[in-house]
Structure formats: C-alpha cells, structure tokens
Amino acid sequence: MNKVSVIIKREYLSRVKKRSFIIMTILAPLLMACLVIVMPLVMMSGSTDFKKIAVIQDGTTEFENVITDTKDEDFVYLQGADINYIVKNLDSLGYYGALYISPLSLNEPILYSKKQPGIGLLDHISGALEKEIEKSKLLDYNIQNLDSILKQIRTNVNPVTKIVDQEGKSTETSQGVAMVLAYIGGFLMYMLVFMFGAQVMRGVIEEKTSRVVEVIVSSVKPVQLMMGKIIGIALVGLTQFMIWVLLTMGTVAVLRGTVLKKADITEMTQTITKSVMDQSQSNAQVPAVKTTTQLSPQLAEMSRLLDNAMNLNWPLIIFAFIFYFITGYLLYASVFAAIGSAVDNETETQQFMLPVTIPIILALMVAMGTMQNPDSPLAFWFSIIPLTSPIVMMARIPFIVPAWQIILSMGIMIITFLAFVWMAAKVYRTGILMYGKKTSWKEMWKWLRYSG
C-alpha cells in the first residue's frame, strides 16, 4: 500500500477518534443552532429588559409625544416636573433614565441614566427630535399643508446595481449579498487555514518531542510524512465542517418544530432554514447572517436578495473557494509544518508565529476594505500577492473581477505554494532531527541549502 495513504489514514483516524474531537463536533453545531434561534428570539422579545424613560421639557411642550415608544422603551412625558428631583430618584420612581430637553440647547438634549445607554436608544431619540426640529423650522416658512407635503416627499432610496456584460445584457445584483459573501468567504478561509495549519504544527512538534519521527523517516521520506500529515488534517477539518453544517441544519429544524410557537418567529426561521438549505445546495454562502436579522415584514426584500444571490457567478465562486482553500491551506500548513519542525516545544513557536500571522491579519483587513472598494489598487495587489490572495481574492470575486486578474493570481498562487512546500520540506527534513538548539530564521535559511 502507498505509504502516504497509510500516514494519511493514521493522522485522520487518530484525530477523529479523539474524545475532544467528538465532543467539539457535536457541541459546536448545537451552540450554533441555539445562537441562530435564540439570538432573534432575544432581539424580538426583549421584554425582560424593559426601560421607562422620563421626558422633561423645560418651558415648552413642543416635543410632547414626539419620541414614540419602542419595543424596549416607553417614553413618559412629565409636564413641569423637576428634572433634579427625577434624576435623583430614578430608581425609586422606576425610570431607566430621564431626557431633559431645553429650548436653550435644543441640539444637545441631555439623557440622564445610571448605565451607559445603547446606541439604538440614542439613535431613536435623536432621529425623532431631529425630524421634529426640522419640521418646526420648516413651519417658520409658512408653507401650507406642510404635513401632507412632508408625508408626500418622504422617500426611501435603495440603489439597484446591475452588472453589464460584454453583450450588453444586464443582471441585477446586490451589493449586500456580495458583501456578506465576501465577508464570509474571507473569514472562513482565515479560520480554516489558521485552525488546521496550527494543528499541523502541533502534530509535527508532538512527533518531534516524542522522538517518534526518526523511526518514521527511516521508513518514509520526510516530505511524505509532512504531506501525509497535512492532507490527513485537512480531511479531519473537512469532516468536521460537513458534520457541523448537517447538524446545525438538523438542530434548527428540530428546534423550529418544538420550541418555537409564535407564528412570526416560525416564519422567520423558515426563511433562515431556507437560506441555509440554499446555502448547502449551492455549497456556498448565501447571506445567512443577513437573514437572521431580517424580520417578517421584510420577507419580500429577502427573497429579492436571494434572487440576486442566485445571479452571482456561483460556479466561479465555488471553484475559486476550493482552489484558494486548497492552495492557501497547503501554503500555510507547510510553513506551519516547517516551524513545528524547527522548535523543541510549543512555547518556542511564538517568535515564528508573528511573521506568519501578519499576512493573514493584513489580508483580513484589506478584505474588509475591499468590500467598500473592490477595485482599489490595494485590493488588486493584495489579491495578486500569494500570501494574502486566498482571502482578498475571495472577498473580491463576488464583485466581479477581470478574468486575467484571477488567472494571474491563481498562477502565482500555484507557483508559490509549490515553492513553499518545497522549501518547507527542506527545512522540515533538517529540523525534525535537530534538538536542543534555539532555531532562528537565519538557521532555517541555512537548512534550506543542506544537500538531501
């Protein structure tokens, strides 16, 4: 039997059979599912944290009932109450806070409270007051039927983007879908590469410290051992990932049938499940994150988003994801393997981790920026440079990237990952048999040039 496959099998089975792996694999989707279900539940009910806010106007009644009640907050308008008295006795009077509006400083009303109020609350207050103040300023111009005019002119603009191809055919796309997709794609790549890469490193260190490695390399070539480990761990990761997707879907379905009774929540979770299903069907990332925040009145908007998502170039996105995952993982995993081989224990890895982490963090940051401006020179270069391209290019692809850029990026990626695997194998071969020596980058560079 092929030796590499023997190694892959051991690496795979020894990890999959571990108790910690089984526990993590089962628990994580349960937690995820709870999050998917419970988060919106909490967001919708919110009654546990109900707030009463006193509104006190100093010598004016202009803002009476201007700030409307929300799900979580009631606004109580107190005529002529003493602000100081209320502020002193917030708790005993049962108020969360007191809003003080003075005509002298209309632009800066004061909200007294015991705790730091949330951004949502502040937005709500300022939005309501701004509108009222603007209205009263407009009133000064003595326009007739101002209210109805205002109602009439209220508009809500949602730009629709259409991508035109060479034949002039246009397709409706959605910036939102592309952004979410870019975000998920980039982040997933980061997670996978880093998690499994670190596992490779730990595996190499384990073999080195237990001294088992010398026996093995007397039977197989070091590079075979290294590749066997890298591939075995990738398979473990993919297994875990598949189980997570399936279990999360299952748990959501079960919870939907039992725990949730309210009609609107059921409706909402249906959309979520639907999107999760779509996600698994297309084997990529329809904006599940987005859907969780969508509420029932916006279902129409939702389905439009989903339609737009279907208009994206899925075959390309899926191909690119698989390509960049495999090459990116091989590239980083081989660097991790080389680092693991060069040290005697895990604490020594620190000095080597930083230079490896920096490109990944940088890539994530650029990927975030990419969503604002997918064609900026920064985004372009980082999607060509091989250390960052798996993440940045994944973030760019949903926004349509010229074919030559993708080909260039992938070409450089292939060359680089081959070069990295080759170099890592050389360092690895020397490193695994070196003990008790503090290794530096310079030392590793020297190992590169040792003959076979």
Binding site: S210, R211, V215, V220, S451
Partner: protein
C-alpha cells in the same frame, strides 16, 4: 562478501564536518560495532545508511548494488532517541510501523502475534503507550524494528532502559537474528557488549575512522607486550631487566601476575626467567579490553 559498504562518505553541516572520508565494510551475517565518543559522527553515518540524510560525497552499496530509496524496506533501524506515539494503542502502532515498512496488514498481524508472544507482551496489545514502562516500550520498538525481516538491522544503543533480564533476552534475540541470516550494525558505548557480541568494529572520532577490523585482531594487535601468567600456589615474582610487573595477586590458591615486557625480549626468554619460580598453569598475551583500547585510541587522537 560484504553486505553493506560505505565508501569515502563525507557529510558537512555548514562549517562542521560530521563525517570526513569514512569507509566501512560490513560482512554478511556479522555483528558490526560502530563505536566512537559522543559527537563522533556515528548517528550521522547511521542516518545516511537509512537515507534519512544524504552524504555530500561518497557511495553506499547494499549487496554490491548502489543503495536505492527502496532499500529502506531491507533495513531495520532502532534509533538511540526512540519514541512512540504516546496516545496510540500498542497494537495499532506496531501495525502502523509495519505498514510503513511495506508489510500488508494481514502479514503484519501474523508476525506481530508471533513476536508479541515470543517477548511475552501479548497483554499490552490494547494498551496505550503512555501506560507502559520504558522497558516495555523498548520491547515494542524492538519488534517494530525487526518485524519486516530486514537484511540489515541497525541498533543504536539497544540495551538502554532494559533491566539485566530483558537486556539478556534482547541480546539473545539479536544473536538469533544473525543466526537466521541478518546482518547487524550495532552502535554502543558499552564496550563489554562489544566484546561479547561484535565480530568487527569501526571506531570513529571527530568524523574520521581511526580504528577498524575484527575485534579479536584488534585486541591482539593492541595486546602488545603484556602477558598474563598463572601459577599454582602462592608465587611472587621479582622484576628483572626483561620485564616489569604490572600486578600480582593470589586467589583460590592461584597467583595471577601481569607482566610488561621490555621491547626486543621474546616470550621464550620471559618463560626462561620465570619457569623456576613455580608451577605455571597458563601463559597468555594479556588482551586489553575494548574499553581500554577505546579510551587509549580516542585520547591519543585528542
């Protein structure tokens, strides 16, 4: 004919010359001692034989043919720094190593059963390695080294970690392996076991071969001018111009005397000098122990 041969092997790590023009020739079915102080280059040579690293220059031959990557299947190697996967079960682990050496699972299973029974470790099959004592782990490793019936077996300090009973058990297994046709390279610091086991040796120091040949020849060559005399009864000798006395003592009614002869004096002249002192039981050239030779050779080079 030699089973294994290394010719003019040189290996350099940066500025450090680990091996400098080293040649060894291991006859078939022999136990070949690879000796040398720490850091002499033994492990590097062994790793080159195992093709873990390659030499900078020099040639290696197995059975008269150039060593190829496939030849690792014909070599068994028990490294000095040995280890097993701690969390893996003994049986699984032994199977894994056997498969890496090219055995099919069924064949490996069959042989493992035989060896586990022979070394009396059947009960440990399902245990994790971390539950075993060091000596037990060594036994498992010994088995994994020889399971694929290699033609050439390399043992690097095979007796460390064994109690005397088990060390003897392993020694007998090594002799048994040679009996069955295996050739053994044996690297150690324990010179007593060299005298006991090895047919031939090579002594390496600072990357260079400084002594090689059959153990008996080397000991005779280094015996030089020392002789051991045994007399019946309590006998005391006096030094004369022909010899000096290194030691004499009486035990169980016999006198053991060690002489160092002045150069140019023949054994007959010595015998003539001492023959009247008592009843001679034996007169032999005193062979220095490998330990003495080792220390003397290495020190003279330093």
């Amino acid at each position: 004919m030699s089973l294994f041969e290394a010719q003019n092997v040189t290996k350099q790590f940066g500025d450090f010359k680990a091996l400098d023009d080293v040649s060894i020739s291991v006859p078939a079915q022999c136990i070949y001692g690879l000796l040398g102080p720490n850091g002499a280059g033994k492990t590097t040579l062994i790793r080159i034989i195992n093709q873990i690293t390659g030499p900078d220059s020099g040639n290696l031959y197995l059975n008269g043919k150039k060593l190829t990557p496939e030849d690792v299947l014909a070599i068994g190697y028990l490294p000095e720094e040995r280890g097993l996967y701690r969390k893996m079960k003994v049986g699984e682990q032994a199977l894994y190593f056997a498969q890496l050496k090219g055995l099919s699972k069924a064949e490996a299973m069959k042989r493992l059963k035989y060896w586990f029974r022979k070394l009396d470790i059947v009960d440990w099959w399902g245990k994790k390695v971390e539950e075993l004592s060091k000596g037990m782990q060594q036994k498992v490793q010994f088995i994994t080294t020889i399971l694929h019936e290699p033609k050439l077996i390399i043992f690097d300090e095979p007796f460390t970690g064994f109690d005397p009973v088990n060390a003897n058990l392993i020694k007998n297994e090594i002799l048994f392996l040679r009996e069955r046709g295996a050739t053994i390279i044996f690297s150690t610091h324990i010179m007593a076991s060299v005298e006991e086991l090895c047919d031939n040796i090579t002594l390496i120091n600072k990357g260079k071969t400084i002594l090689e040949g059959s153990v008996s020849e080397i000991r005779e060559k280094w015996a030089g001018k020392e002789y051991e005399l045994v007399f019946q009864g309590d006998v005391k000798l006096r030094e004369n111009g022909n010899f000096t006395i290194l030691s004499q003592n009486t035990e169980d009614g016999k006198s053991f005397i060690r002489l160092n002869t002045i150069s140019g004096i023949s054994t007959n002249e010595i015998l003539h000098d001492v023959i009247k002192s008592g009843n001679i039981i034996s007169f032999n050239p005193a062979l220095p122990s490998m330990n003495e030779i080792f220390i003397r050779v290495v020190e003279s080079r330093n």
